[in-house]
């Protein structure tokens, strides 16, 4: 019976998939088969397998991995500690609010903060260390990216930790498990769905980051997202831009299928 409720609830969602996912994919694939003169060709796919793009693909992967890793490392303890605070839902909201202020403005603020004459170097100078240019380094790039994704990682983890049954933890403790074992064997497995969700909403968009690669990394990091942006808006080669986008989507789907959920399937 609930089965039918659920199937009916899929209708608007499937309509959305049809109109705003399948149709655009069809368009992108169509454009990826066109050359500059609008003739059908496979040359775009051929040019994707050039050293430049292969290198870019690896760069994108590597940085997306680093960003996701650091975001997780910082967010998990934050989410965990937040669930233990008194006004936990209020604090959670206060984690989200900064993400509502325009990203470009915040990035400009970071340029100021990281600058030679910015507050960070001012503090560093007090300790007698030479001011250093922090901008346009891997550190600043990953820092700002992690900054952007933190709320997206904290929220799903918080949600799965929040409803965690405390008796389970007490039980584990009573049975003599150390706090680390309790965490590893009881807490973490129960929050794995939240973590997965957080990783997805961080890793997938991180693959196609573009604006920050220029603003914070000064184009020293060139990702597939940057390349697509350039092809569409500068070279006006929509064919090549679409081709890279097709590869991005394929890569994402492979990741999804490899890490896919096998459980579930509620009737």
């Amino acid at each position: 019976m609930t089965n039918r409720v659920s199937k009916g609830s899929l209708f608007p969602y499937c309509l959305w998939i049809l109109l705003f996912v399948i149709a655009p994919i069809a368009l992108i694939v169509y454009y990826s088969l066109l050359d500059l003169e609008g003739k059908f060709t496979l040359s775009n796919y051929q040019s994707f397998f050039s050293p430049a793009y292969i290198k870019m693909t690896f760069t994108s992967f590597w940085y997306a991995f680093l960003i996701t890793f650091f975001t997780l490392v910082i967010s998990y303890p934050t989410a965990y500690l937040l669930t233990k605070t008194k006004h936990k839902h209020l604090w959670l909201m206060l984690i989200i609010i900064p993400s509502w202020i325009n990203l470009l403005l915040k990035t400009y603020a970071f340029i100021g903060i990281f600058g030679l004459y910015g507050p960070i170097n001012a503090v560093v100078e007090v300790f007698g260390i030479e001011p250093k240019q922090i901008l346009f380094t891997d550190f600043s790039f990953i820092f700002v990216s992690v900054y952007i994704f933190i709320p997206f990682m904290i929220i799903p983890i918080f949600n799965s930790l929040d409803k965690l049954n405390p008796t389970l933890i007490y039980a584990a403790r009573d049975l003599g498990a150390s706090s680390f074992t309790t965490f590893r064997r009881v807490v973490f497995p129960l929050t794995i769905d939240g973590v997965k969700s957080g990783i997805q909403v961080t890793f997938i968009p991180a693959l196609s980051l573009f604006m920050i690669t220029r603003l914070i990394a000064g184009n020293q990091v060139i990702t597939l997202g940057t390349a697509i942006e350039q092809q569409f808006l500068v070279s006006q080669n929509w064919g090549m831009g679409s081709t890279i986008a097709v590869f991005l989507i394929i890569i994402m789907i492979i990741i999804m299928l490899v890490t896919g959920q096998r459980k579930g399937g509620r009737a």
Binding site: K55, I111, Y117, Q133, F136, R214, G218, N219, Q220, Q236
Partner: protein, 358 residues
Amino acid sequence: MKPLIQATIAIIIVCALLLFAANRLETAGSQGSKDTITVYNWGEYIDPSLIDQFTEETGIQVIYETFDSNEAMMTKVEQGGSAYDVAVPSEYMVQMMIEKDLLIPLDHSKIPNLKNIDPYFLDLAFDPKNKYSIPYFWGTVGIVYNPNLIDDHLTFTTWEDLWDPSLKDKVFLVDGAREVMGMGLNSLGESLNSKDDELLKKATDKLITLSPNIKAIIGDEITPLMINNEAAVALTWSGQAADMMWENEELDFAVPKEGSNLWFDNFVIPKTAANIDGAHAFINFMLDAEISAQNNDYVGYSTPNAAAMALMDPEVIEDERFYPGEDLRDKLEVYENLGLKWLGKYNEYFLKFKMSIR
């Protein structure tokens, strides 16, 4: 369930209230007039008080929309779906839009103030006889630098100065294939419109030898960096340099003698126009000597309007860095529309250069 319903109702009520407020504000502004034009321009690229003045004088309401790149703007005009009456593309984009048949020819009889424009800036190759476009602002590409942060002997009268070993990790480039490749070609004494694969390769190799000096390749963020003394040397457009120098008096600007780019932002009337008469009236209004002088004062870029220049502070218009003299002017080249194939090549080489930085 209850909190969900409550939240839904709260959102709908808030939206209704906001919609009401927005409507009140909009009708209060428009005084019920039906004559409107839509102006499509770069952000902060006009004195907003002039828009009000235009409405007062002509009764035509102005809807002001903004874009941040020529290509994105063209995509919008090409796809249609929205009426833009006046747009302000750069010169190479004017040429591209003419080729794509996206512009309406201007009726010069409706723009008598065209006579105010310095003839030097009229009838250029990208739009012969100004059939489709009239220059709004113009400028060059050059080097903005902070003399206090670099060696004294560097004055950037030549592009070679960028390669000076003392500038290690100090040079910022603008993220534009035409600008950077153009600089590479200029430094070899070649035209920045070259369509010769060998030359482009040579220019790229030359640029790659610049890599050790390059700190970053960025966009508009260069402005705050230069103002804040974070960056010592940057390749950028004269207009942005003027903005920077306004804020930081230490800075200086130079256009190297080998030559550089001369660019224009121009008024055009796109095919999407719904109020062609209104569009002409707006362009004519903006070309008026006094109006233009006021606008130049606000925007701070170089103006092609000779009549307006007569009304402006002589110190501004006699500044050779932004109003270069005859001999340098002869060395400046306007970007030609290279066609998509060559544009792609320029970008390919530029990408190769960018990836060589690390």
